[in-house]
Each structure stands twice: as C-alpha cells, then as structure tokens.
C-alpha cells in the first residue's frame, strides 16, 4: 500500500473546516473522511499483481553504445491499471527512464521502452518490475514487485579497431614486396613468373628458366616469387590476476590487454594465422580456440565480456602446460601482464625459458604515463621525492624487461592508448622477419 501526495494535501486541507468552525469534532471527522476516501481508492485500484510481464532485451551491446530494452506488460485483470512502473536494472546498466507512467485497460498490454547505456563491461541484469497502481482519486495505490529477470551482455568496446585499416595496409604491403626485401627463412615459395624489369636478379630461378621453352623461340627468364608465411599459430595469454585490476589512465590493465588482444586477433586472422585466446589467473577464466574470421572476434568479445580481474596471484607454473594444450606447434605466444617489479614478475620469469624454447614469446605490458610525467616535475621538495620514486619504478620495469629479453622473450610496452597498435606493429615486424 502506498499513499500519495494528494492524500497528504487532503489531510492538510482539513485545517480550513477546523479553523472556520472552531469545533474540535471536525478534526476526527476530517481524519475519518480522509481515511475512508483512501480506503475506497485502495479497494477500487486495479491489482498490480495480475499482470504478465515479457521482456525483450538485446543479447549484446558494446560498451559505450545504447540499446533499447522492451518490457511488455499484459494486464490480465479486468480493471484499468493507472500508475507508475519501475523497471529495476542494475545501476551500471545505465537504464533511463527508470520510471514510466502507464494506463493499461483490462486485458490490454503496453510496451515500455527503457534505454540502456551500460557504463561497465560484463553481464548487466534486470531483477524485477515494480508496479504502483493508483485508485481513481489518486489518494492511495497498491504496489507489488514481480520477479522479471533479464540480462544483457556488455562487450569490450574495441576502440583500437581504428588502428586496424592502417595495420592491414601494412600487411598487404608485406604481401606485394619484392622478394629481396622480405626474402628470408620465414617467407614461403609462392609461384614462378616471368622476369620483369626491376625484379632482383638474385631471385631468378635458373632451373625453371632452363625448363621453360618459349613458343616464339626467345628465352624468357623465370623468377621465384614469395609471400609471407601463413597458417601460423598465435596464442594470446591474458593475465587476469591482481595486477590486472590496477587502473592506468582510468582504464584497468585487463581492459587494455583485451583491446590489444582484439586488435592483434583481427589482424592475425586476416593475415591467415590462427589465433587462440586464454584468459588465466589460477584457473582458466576464458578460452577461445579453433575459431577464425569474424566468428573469432565475436567469440573473443563474448568471452572477455564477463571476465573481471581477481585479487589473486596468477599461477605462472601452469602457463606452459596451457600453451601446450592449445598447440604443439611453434607459435607466437603473447603474454599480456604487467612487468612492474622484479619481485612480482618472478613467477613469469621462472617459466619463460620453457616457453621461449619452443615458441616466440612477446610480453606486452601497460606502462603508466603518470610515472614518466612524475620524473620530469621536480619543482618542490615532495615532487623531487616523487620523481625519485618514479625513476625507481622505471628502473624496476627496465630490469624486468631486460631479464625477459635475456631469457629470449620480447617486450612491448606502451601507455593504454599506444599499447594495442604497438603490439600489432610488433606482430607485423615478426611476420616480416619470418619469426612466426
């Protein structure tokens, strides 16, 4: 049961007869009148319980975009429901409006559209629907809350896709380069064709030229052409442990890792490589295997959507086994983690030799632009100390990076906005060098 502001106003209006008549009995009479009117209103009000609720919620939305969710309210009773509906979503689902006025005649239905602009990644839920049904005098209302579960999956935004066209262009350039520029171990023999001016003479295939009999009698030179290697394996391992929860420039480390993983996957799958993803701390939090093309990206974002960092130390000892379970071939293993302090990175450094023995390993880590900025600003006493601490942090980072390089790994670092394209560039460079 709910009383409205009108009921309070009705009570206050009782001041008039009490003052005018100056009769103490009017107080009781007026209270009686108000209560009786409210009771009548309450009895006449339609039951908010006799409704059928149907939700129509889109399954997915990218973070930062808006969608409309529809709630259909079917009045199963005979009386008209006049009142307000609250569609209860979690706060971070960004629902608006949350309250809607409705008038539904008996047996009819109404659809309520709620705009959703989620502010966090993951599964955003709607729990229930509350209906407040007023009587004809609008003095009192009946209220009921009904379970009406609904959910929408909020996917990572993939802002770094703006870097994709330029990186794809680079990849195509790789394809068309003259053989000399990219000749090396990693390139594969593509085909034989006639020599044209400008081709490197070192790529002339003399055996093929000898075999070739020109019908017109002349001798044509044949050259070998090459193309970048294809069908290589890329394994992306994302650390979802405690260090990934840290926020750098307003973005958790794990979100930057997702961005770079998505860009790399989009690029690698266009280049003809096979991409697998594992999100891992002490257990596998998400895994995408055996997908390719557009399906790969959609499965990746779907898997990433619900993963949040946990405050536990990742179990690096299990990572080599995990990579082996994904592929037994040589692969490019990208480990997205943080390399802030030698102490915290000990686990990673311990297992790195096992990985570098079989695979090409790239460790990608987000650096904090604030740290770099702090080393420059030294105008006051406390800032000098801060600069000293920042230099110390940078030194720690470079020590870990040096240790990784010594163990045969490769390191890519960058601020949250720079890391995804930097990782993509490193992939292209490795591909060009044929190290996949």
């Amino acid at each position: 049961m709910v009383i409205s502001g009108w009921f309070v106003a009705l009570l206050l209006a009782g001041v008039v007869p009490i003052v005018v008549t100056n009769d103490p009995r009017w107080l009781v009479w007026w209270l009686g009148i108000a209560v009786v009117l409210a009771a009548i209103d309450l009895v006449i009000a339609a039951s908010p319980r006799r409704v059928i609720l149907t939700r129509d919620v889109p399954a997915r939305v990218r973070l930062g975009e808006s969608v409309a969710a529809t709630l259909v309210i079917d009045n199963a009773g005979r009386r008209t429901i006049r009142g307000v509906v609250r569609d209860a979503w979690q706060p971070s689902a960004g629902a608006h409006p949350t309250r809607t006025r409705i008038v539904i005649r008996g047996g009819e239905r109404r659809a309520i559209r709620t705009g959703l602009t989620p502010i966090r990644r993951g599964e955003r839920r709607a729990a229930h629907v509350t209906i407040r049904s007023y009587g004809p005098l609008r003095l009192a209302a009946r209220q009921a809350t009904m379970n009406a579960p609904g959910a929408i999956r909020v996917l990572p935004p993939f802002h770094s896709r703006k870097h994709l066209p330029s990186r794809l262009a680079k990849l195509r350039e790789l394809d068309g380069r003259t053989s000399v520029m990219i000749r090396g171990q990693g390139t594969e023999f593509d085909s034989l064709r006639e020599y044209v001016r400008g081709d490197d003479v070192r790529s002339i295939d003399w055996r093929a030229t000898a075999r070739r009999q020109d019908p017109q009698g002349g001798q044509l030179l044949m050259v070998r052409t090459w193309r970048p290697e294809r069908d290589r394996r890329v394994v992306i391992v994302i650390d979802s442990g405690r260090t990934s929860a840290a926020r750098i420039a307003g973005e958790p480390r794990i979100d930057t890792a997702f961005e770079s993983a998505l860009l790399l996957a989009a690029l690698a799958t266009r280049a003809g490589d096979r991409v697998d993803l594992v999100i891992f701390d002490r257990r596998v939090r998400g895994r995408v295997q055996g997908a390719s093309g557009p399906e790969l990206l959609s499965r990746m974002v779907d898997t990433m959507a619900t993963v949040d960092p946990e405050l536990i130390e990742p179990d690096w000892g299990a990572v080599p086994g995990l990579v082996r379970s994904v592929t037994s071939q040589h692969a490019l293993v990208v480990i997205a983690t943080s390399i802030d302090a030698p102490g915290a990175s000990r686990g990673l450094l311990a297992v790195l030799p096992q990985l570098t023995r079989r695979h090409t390993v790239v460790v990608s880590s987000v650096t904090d632009p604030d740290v770099l900025a702090a080393t420059r600003d030294r105008s006051r006493r406390s800032e000098v100390y801060l600069a000293a601490a920042a230099e110390r942090a940078l030194l720690d980072q470079s020590r870990v990076a040096a240790a990784i390089r010594q163990l045969g790994g490769d390191v890519v670092t960058g601020s949250p906005s720079d890391l995804p394209p930097a990782l993509a560039d490193r992939y292209i460079a490795l591909k060009a060098a044929g190290r996949l």
């Binding site: 209270l31 609250r86 379970n147 942090a393």
Partner: protein, 405 residues
C-alpha cells in the same frame, strides 16, 4: 504467456503471518504496562516526596498511617478546592503544606491560614513566607542531626531530629517568634510565628518526615507531635493546576491544538508518502579499483618521511645516467665512469664537476637535494642540445657554418 508474473511482495495475509509474533508481543507489552499502572494506583500525589500515599523511601505513608491509627483524620489533597472541602472548623484543622514546586501564591497561602488554626509549611519559598510569616527568611541548607533547644513539646519529646533539609533565620525581634532546632549561625530548622491568629510553623526538616528516616532519631515523635495536634489533618501537595496565571490553552483559540494535531498527522503521512520505497534495490558486484601509481607514491612518501636524500638522489642519478649514456651513444652496459667522461667531453665541462653531480655529491639539506635534482635535469638538457648540435653539424656541415661565422 499464460501465467502471471511471480510476485515478490507479500500479500497482506502473508505479511500479517510474518509479523504476527511481533504484533502479539507489542499488544501484550502495552497491556502489561497498563495493568501495572492501574495496580500501583496512578493517584495524583503518588511518587511525590513526602506524599501520604507513597510507600517508597521518599514518601511519608508511614507517618500518615500512624496518625490515622491515632484517630487523626488524614485527608490527602492536591488542590485548593479539595482542601477547602476537607477543612472543618479552623480550630480543629491542621494543614500540612508540602509545596515542592512552589505552585501556591501569596493569596492562596493567606486563604490556607484562614482555613486552619495550625498551618505547617514544609520548605516554603520567599513569596509564601512573605505572605504568612514575614519575620522568617530563607537561610540555605542544613544537614546532620539537630538537638532540641526550645520548650516546644514535640521538640522536647523528640530530643534529636534529623535536620537534613533547609534552614531559616528570623528577621527583627518579634517576641512571639519561637525558634527551634538551631544548627548554629542563627539558623533554625523550625520557626513558629503567629499570623492573624493562626499558628504558622515553618519547617525545613524534609528528611525527618520521609519513610526512610522517620524511625531514626526522634523523628517520629517530632513529626507525630507536630501533625497530630488536631483531630483533622489536611495533607496538601498542590498540583501544577493550582499555579496562578492563565494556561497556554486559555490564551490560544480552541482550534490551535486541533490544527497542531492535524499537522503532526499530516507530517507522519508525508513521511510515509516520501519514504515508501518503489521496490527493492538491485544489487551489483562492483569491480576492484586499484590505482596503479599507489606503490610509487607510497615509496615517495617513505623517502620523504625518512629524509633519505641520498637514496632519492641516487634513484634520480640512475635514470639520468641511463639516459645520458644513450644520448652519448654509449652501449647499455657502459658504467658511470664512461658516461662521466663522455658527458664531460660532449658538454665541454670539467670532468670533476660532472663526477660530483653524477656520483659524489651527498646532499646535506633538502634545498641541496632540490638543487642537485635541478642540476641533473639541466645536464640532461645540455647533453641533449649538444648531441643534437653535433649530429646536425655532421649531417649538414655547410648549412651550419655559414650563419655562425
């Protein structure tokens, strides 16, 4: 599509079942309270000190009962009207006035003195004394036991009395004034005067009349002797209604209190109107938020708190040496000596000065630390400028020389 939604809100019947225990418990508690009030007898005078119906240590029921057993008609009264009704002929009537709140005014006291021949006032205030015993003045508090020191019969029989209460002093030299139970310094606990034919006894011994102390010392003899001198005793504890002056209700129109009640009810209703929740909240697990630069800032504060200037400066130096080395084109493994030599050569500064800055100086004060840190930055800028100059000279020697010379 055929079933209605699952309702979370309980129906009135379900809610009633859930709250049944508390409703019953609440009703029982109210009933028990009401019953106890009825049983203990919520009479007007009960609970007041020296009340003839109060059996607690502060009351005086013992005294009243003993007086009744001795044939004195004890009437408890809380208003002038009741006192008037209870008082018989003035000669036969004693009025014992216990007016802690000092509700009665001078006129009412004069009227009391007319109603009886023996008026006993327990701790009166200034106005009341002025009306019926103008020779008596208030003289602070008295404690301990006081001894009989006059010929008044109840006092001589009692010998000693618990004096705890107030004391009085006599102004002027009226021969008819009787003073008893002195506690020194001309302070007396009992003063008897005559006011237009009525004997007025002003008493300060509040403790002696209470149930707690009436059996100690000679208190009983003292009290019974004073109060039992006539066959009719009116024991008056005036209520606040006897206080003179118009009440608030008499001054305001009749509708004001009604409107106030209505406003209170409307306020409560408004509370229910605004306070009613529109369905329960939806819970949500929030992610962990960790600021990444926390360790860095913590370390900076640690340096600052312990004033480890050399430690902080060394951290800055390591960074600077690293950058200077790469600016001068030295390999990463180059040690400080090599960097110092290269920097001295590039900037054309004396080597000891560079060595002092990059290796040897130990800052003794904070100011020196700031100066050295600024010098490090300045050196980095100088080296960067010098190496840039060198590289441009190598790249375009002609272009660089012409404007210079």
């Amino acid at each position: 599509m055929t079933n209605t939604a699952e309702v979370v809100t309980p129906t009135i019947r379900q809610a009633g079942r859930a709250w049944r225990f508390w409703v019953i418990a609440g009703v029982l508690a109210v009933l028990v309270t009401l019953a106890s009030i009825v049983i203990t007898g919520a009479t007007g005078a009960a609970g007041k000190p020296l009340s003839p119906t109060d059996a607690s240590p502060k009351g005086s029921k013992a005294l009243a009962e003993v007086l009744r057993q001795h044939g004195v008609a004890v009437t408890s009264s809380d208003s002038m009207a009741a006192t008037r009704a209870a008082a018989g002929s003035p000669a036969d009537t004693t009025i014992f006035l216990v007016d802690d709140g000092h509700f009665l005014n001078a006129e009412q006291l004069v009227e009391l003195s007319r109603l009886s021949s023996n008026l006993i006032l327990m701790t009166p205030d200034f106005d009341q004394l002025n009306a019926v015993a103008p020779q008596v003045a208030l003289a602070g508090t008295v404690s301990g036991v006081v001894h009989a020191d006059c010929s008044l019969r109840p006092v001589t029989r009692a010998k000693t009395v618990t004096g705890t209460g107030s004391g009085f002093r006599v102004i002027g030299s009226d021969p008819e004034v009787v003073t008893c139970l002195g506690s020194g310094d001309d302070i007396f606990s009992l003063v008897q005067v005559v006011h237009s034919g009525t004997r007025v006894t002003v008493l300060g011994t509040t403790a002696a009349f209470s149930n707690q102390f009436v059996i100690t010392e000679g208190n009983a003899a003292f009290a019974l002797g004073l109060l039992g001198s006539t066959s009719n005793l009116v024991w008056m504890l005036p209520s606040i209604d006897e206080a003179s002056g118009p009440t608030a209700a008499e001054l305001t129109p009749a509708w004001v209190s009604d409107v106030l009640v209505l406003l209170i009810i409307a306020t409560i209703a408004a509370g229910f109107w605004r306070g009613r929740r529109f369905g329960p909240l939806v819970v949500e697990n929030l992610p962990v938020v960790v600021r990444s630069s926390e360790t860095m800032r913590g370390r900076a504060r640690l340096y600052e708190k312990s004033s480890s200037r050399l430690h902080a400066l060394d951290s800055l130096r390591i960074g600077t040496v690293d950058r200077l080395g790469s600016l001068c084109g030295l390999p990463r493994v180059a040690d400080v000596e090599e960097v110092i030599r290269a920097v001295a050569y590039v900037t054309r500064r004396p080597e000891p000065e560079i060595a002092q800055l990059l290796r040897d100086a130990d800052p003794a004060t904070e100011a020196e630390l700031i100066r050295l840190s600024d010098a490090l930055l300045e050196l980095e800028r100088a080296v960067a400028a010098a190496t840039r100059e060198n590289s441009t000279t190598i790249d375009t020697p002609a272009h660089d020389k012409e404007p210079g010379e």
